[in-house]
Structure formats: C-alpha cells, structure tokens
Symmetry: C2
Subunit: 265 residues, 2 copies
C-alpha cells in the first residue's frame, strides 16, 4: 500500500443545469461546466488561487505542488484538506520552508524556463505503435463526458497500453495536467510505461510538465507550438498532435506504422 | 491624434515551417505557431513572463498592465520597448510605485475575485441582432489565419457592427484578450459600441477581463463555465457561446431574433 497523506475526498459535481436561448429563440435546458476558486495554502501560507472544475481538488493541489517543484516527494505532504465553504485547500507539510517559496504560473502567463535552462530529465526511450494510437483514440472517445455534456473544459488522460488509468477534465489545460500528476503520486504509478493524452494544445509549458512527470509519450487532439516541439526534441518525448479519428501528425519520436488507416487522406 | 507612448514595432512572424510524419508514415511540411517568452519589466522591475505568439508584443504588454489594473490610463506609459534578443519588453512610466505592485494571473492559475468582490463596472445596455451575429461569423471566417495554417492558437477579435477592427491570435486565451485591450488604448477606441469575439472558452477570468475593458457583448465559438455566466449576469454582458455556422446559445442578455437560420436543428 503506497504512502497516503491524510486527505479529504471533496470532489465537486462538475455540471450545472442552466437555460439558454438557441438560435431559433427557443429556451433550452443546457448543462455547463462548474468553475470554482480554490485557494491553495501550504503550511498556512497562501500560494495561489486555482479556478477549477473541482472534480479532483486534492490531486490538483498535490500535482500543482509537484509540477511547481515545491514538493519533491509525496511523503513530504502530511495532509490535504479541501473546504469548499471557504474555497480553500490546505496542505500541511510540517516544513516551514516550503510555504515560503514564491511561485507564479499559468496559461502562457507565468514563470517559464528558456530552452538553455531546462533541467536534466532522463526519459525512457520508447516507441509507439500506430495500432495502439488508434486503439487509444477509440477508447478515449468513450470518455470526454463533461465536454460532451457541457463544453468549456479540457481533458487529460493517463494511459497504459490501451487502458485508461485516469481521465481528468478541468476548465484550464494546466489544472488537468496537474491533477494527473497528483493522482500518479497518490496511486504510486510509474511514468516510464505511460502515455499522456490531452485535448488541449501542446504549448511549451504543457510539454515541460509532462517531461517533469517523466512520461515519454504525449498525444494531443489539438495542435502544437514550435517551442513545444523543441522541448519534446530536447527531452526525447514522442510528440503526436492533431490526433483525431484516423489522422495524426508525429512531430518527434518513433512511431511504428503497423496499421493502415481505414480512410486515406 | 490620440496619445502614443514611444514604442517599438517588433511583431514576430508567427509561423514556423517544420516537418512531421502523417498517419501514412509520409513526411509532410507543416506550419506550427511560434511561442516565445517575453518578460515584462515595468520601470526595471520584473513583473511576469508571458509565452506569446509575439505578433503584437507592445499591445500585449500595454493590455496586460491594463487588465491587471496596474496602469489606469495609457498616458501613464512613457515608452514600450520590445527586444527579442533579450526576450524582454520594458515599459517605462517614470512612476516608481507601479513596478512595485505584485501580481499573478493565468489560465485558471492566478489571482481571481470572488463574485462578492467584483468591482463596480457600468456597461452600456445594448441588444444585438441575430442577423448581425450571422454577418459577423461570416466575416470572422475569413480570419483565423494562423489557426487554419498552423493550429495551436486562440483568436480574439474586436468588432464594431460587422467591421472587424482587430484580430489577434496567440498561444494563450489570456494573451489575445490582453493584446486587444492594449490595442483599444493605443487606438483610442471606445468600448460601448463594440463586440468581443473569441474562439476560446468563456471562463470567469475572460468574462471579467471583457467587463473590465467595458465591452457589453461577448461572443464565443466555444463553451462557457457556470461562473462565466454568473459574472456576465452580474455586469449585464450579453453572453453568446457555441456560436458556429448558424448555431449559437444565448446565456445572458437580449438578442433580437430577426434572421431565420438557414438550416434548422
């Protein structure tokens, strides 16, 4: 049994029912994604306010601290207490130094590293089969529940072979990645044999986070930026973007073409 | 002639040519969006590093400071100097107090206001005609250039009637909104008679920014969160989401249904 901090289990129901007028002027019942502020305290010190769907608030807090390099191992965390009345998550480490580090991050508006400053990360050298990509995309099509019902969210999934170990949706691309990073620590999952899937765009910060988590394969339904490709090349991450239906584009790494797409371009 | 700070004109060419392997294993020439770090200094003090496509770096810096409430009027800014060699934009105000304010923001990972703390903003009371929505969507379809060529970006547009005054694409939803806010100051454009369009999701922070800029109509190709709707209701912003082809959903405000959609649902 892996180490577990003392934790609440305070996931929110992520969907709200509202009404809207459609283009025919008719009232329609519509479901929209929730979005709640969650202010993260570490040892009583305020770190950041995250706007989140709230499905996995404890994992989000843990993964945020992991991806911001504020916590180096799960054992440093004694407890994670979410309270939606006060819109707070309190992480206790008992280590006064951790809460005193200052951080900022966000969607292209935060602390970033230049290519020359990238940390040394050793990722597993792997290949991926086209047949696995297709099998995964078929499996993932069954998920994406909130997006289909309500829109307004991005999804990330942690996959091992064709198995989807975790599927997290959130209002921000970053939160979903952070929550997966938190779940991986809490479940004590290895990273070398995993594939990271996201519906979001592969900007440099997302590729950096996946490298930091140690996952060697990154698959996205959306596009990629030039710096995202550069970082993938630097770390040797297999980077596949625009993966949808039978199509995809490999921007870095080895894919074994063992499955003929049903419909040629 | 409106007041202009002394400014560089250092917009980057936003598209990079790369090669990728497609699903048939064939090499394809592909264009991807650029993404460059731009560290913002105000009076020599470092404020934030923005990851940006870089098309409108001066307007982005001005709009960021506007939307973070760090600068109250364009006249407070004496100069805006972008230098891509050093990946910096230096804003000079001559006011030592401004640079000393601390800020964080980002894609659901930054400083946010709760509904009860919302500032008092008076927006113009307006209505919008369905025929104008359709005319705008047709006009906007001509834009979206980088997205079509390269993917990986979000677009925002500032519209007046069916005229598109500004169209900005960037790697982050927030950057594109900020750059439009900067352009509005630099061009001395009023806000009451404008419509704000975005391809991105209407999360609370985006709706807040548009309210802060003073624009009474917000139109998105994507979805909306529950808090985004609440903020629109609070400020009286017309909020239209999922606007695509002939379809849309009105979540707040008055739309005059004067155009029958060509294809019923």
């Amino acid at each position: 049994m892996p180490y577990q901090p003392e934790m609440t289990d305070a996931g929110l129901s992520p969907i709200h029912a509202v009404t809207a007028l459609d283009e025919l002027g008719q009232v329609r019942a519509v479901q929209v994604a929730g979005e709640a502020p969650l202010t993260l305290f570490v040892d009583e010190r305020k770190i950041v306010t995250l706007m989140t769907l709230g499905s996995y608030p404890e994992a989000l807090a843990v993964g945020y601290l992991r991806n911001q390099h504020l916590i180096k191992a799960l054992r440093e965390i004694k407890s994670v207490q979410v309270n939606w009345e006060t819109e707070t998550v309190k992480v206790n480490t008992g280590d006064k130094k951790i809460g005193s580090k200052a951080i900022t991050s966000g969607c292209g508006q935060g602390a970033v590293l230049s290519i020359s400053e990238l940390p040394a990360i050793q990722l597993a050298k792997v290949t991926i089969k086209q047949s696995l990509i297709y099998a995964l995309l078929r499996a993932l099509a069954q998920y994406n529940k909130i997006h289909r019902q309500a829109g307004g969210v991005h999804a990330c999934a942690l996959c091992q072979g064709v198995e989807i170990l975790a599927f997290v949706e959130d209002v921000g691309r970053h939160n979903a990645v952070d929550a997966i990073a938190g779940l991986m620590w809490l479940q004590d999952w290895s990273s070398d044999d995993k594939i990271f899937y996201t519906t979001g765009r592969l900007t440099s910060e997302i590729v950096m986070k996946v490298a930091h988590i140690g996952i060697p394969v990154l698959l996205s339904r959306s596009g990629v930026t030039h710096k995202g490709i550069q970082i993938a090349q630097e770390f040797g991450i297999i980077l596949i973007a625009h993966a949808k239906d039978q199509r995809f584009l490999v921007f870095n790494g080895d894919v074994i073409f063992d499955a003929c797409p049903a419909r040629p371009r």
